[in-house]
Amino acid sequence: MDVYEVFKRSGHKEPFAHAGAVIAPDSEMALIMAKECFLRRREGEHLWVTRRSDIHSFSDESLLEIAADKSYRFPEAYRDVVTKREKAKVRAKEVMAERNAS
């Protein structure tokens, strides 16, 4: 018997997501059990199973951290666009007033 991890897609717009696990002698039985456990009430429209031993991950989670300051990858880094936008509008008004005067 092996542990099979179960992945479920709840709709065509969603990616497969982890739903849980079952214990089964082979992948065919794992799928039947997964269907019974995770699609009892049409909670999704597709299932995958894969042996837990076939899943690879990081043994050291600290390796998942971003190595240096990369704050510019995040929306917060551009939050001051609001004040910049206001300054630009004020500046534009000056420019347009000068243009109209000349």
Binding site: R73, Y78, R91
Partner: protein
């Protein structure tokens, strides 16, 4: 079931808003159409990285350089996601890449043009990414589900790029006369290509991708959304438009069909744009000089004993 019966059932499925997965039965024209469309999108992402790449050395600060580099990396990443979707439809990545660098396949018109200064980065980041976001957001409802799912992730990142581009635009626009002139000069060069970006009016009767809902909206509909959203913002910043100059009609900003010169787009469709040859050569050179990286990564790790 005969082919005609399968086709009828497929059409009905699409008509009802049904989605298509890679291993589902689909007509050959659907498969070919989606493949060509996604391949062109992937090509555009990887070629689209180059004009901005050319601007990296002229970034005005280290911070701007790092954020532009991060954005370029995102675009290349989008190409990888999209090539993966296209590959599953039956054309290898190697073949797609070969067709791109030898000029047999196409990429979006805006990436065939030169960049001259930092004003170009503002235009690309704000208006071209803004135009791309209008079209890509509509494609999140595409009938080809693997494409629609990948676009969710791509659109989330494009949203950030748009913010990045607007940030640069607003900094230039609040700045000196010289800074504002840079934006205006870039706008003068890019406006027509941006109008072209959405393509000529769709032929709804003939366009199979529209009928099969791979594309969900017409070219002119998407262009109109872009104009309505961005023209007022550009006017508010005190800039002026070259031909085709948008005019206001009730709540819409329209451009006249007869004001759009399509000749430059026709040249680009033949891969004869101003920068086509140089950029494709550059892309080919990068592919060759980086071959050792791909080769090295294709081998399993060798661990020291």
């Amino acid at each position: 079931m005969t082919y005609d019966e399968k086709l009828a059932r497929f059409n009905e499925h699409i008509e009802d808003g049904g989605k298509v997965e890679t291993n589902d039965w689909m007509p050959d024209d659907y498969r070919r159409g989606v493949l060509k469309f996604v391949e062109m999108h992937a090509n555009s992402e990887i070629m689209g990285a180059l004009p901005e790449r050319e601007c990296l050395p002229i970034a005005p600060s280290l911070r701007r350089k790092m954020s532009l580099a991060a954005k370029i990396q995102d675009e290349v990443g989008h190409a990888q996601l999209l090539y993966r979707v296209a590959e599953d439809l039956g054309k290898s990545r190697d073949t797609m890449f070969h067709d791109l660098v030898t000029g047999r396949s196409k990429f979006h018109n805006v990436f065939h043009y030169p960049v001259r200064h930092w004003g170009d980065v503002a235009i690309i980041g704000w208006l071209i990414d803004g135009a791309a976001l209008v079209t890509q957001a509509a494609l999140r409802d595409s009938s080809y589900a693997p494409y629609a799912r990948v676009l969710k992730r791509i659109c989330a990142e494009e949203q950030l790029h748009l913010r990045h581009g607007e940030h640069i635009t607003m900094e230039l626009s609040a700045g000196t006369d010289e800074q504002r002139a840079m934006f205006q000069e870039a706008l003068d060069r890019w406006w027509l290509p941006i109008i072209h970006f959405f393509g000529p009016r769709s032929n709804v009767a003939k366009d199979l991708l529209l009928r099969w809902k791979v594309k969900t909206r017409t070219n002119e509909d998407l262009r109109q959304e872009f104009l309505d959203r961005y023209v007022p913002k550009i006017l508010e910043l005190g800039y002026t438009f070259p031909t085709p100059v948008p005019y206001r009609d009730a709540d819409d900003y329209l451009v006249r069909d007869e004001d759009i010169d399509w000749e430059p787009l026709n040249d680009i469709k033949k891969n004869q744009g101003p920068e086509t040859e140089r950029r494709l050569t550059w892309r080919r050179d990068i592919y060759e000089t980086h071959r050792w990286v791909r080769d090295a990564m294709a081998e399993p790790a060798v661990h020291a004993a």
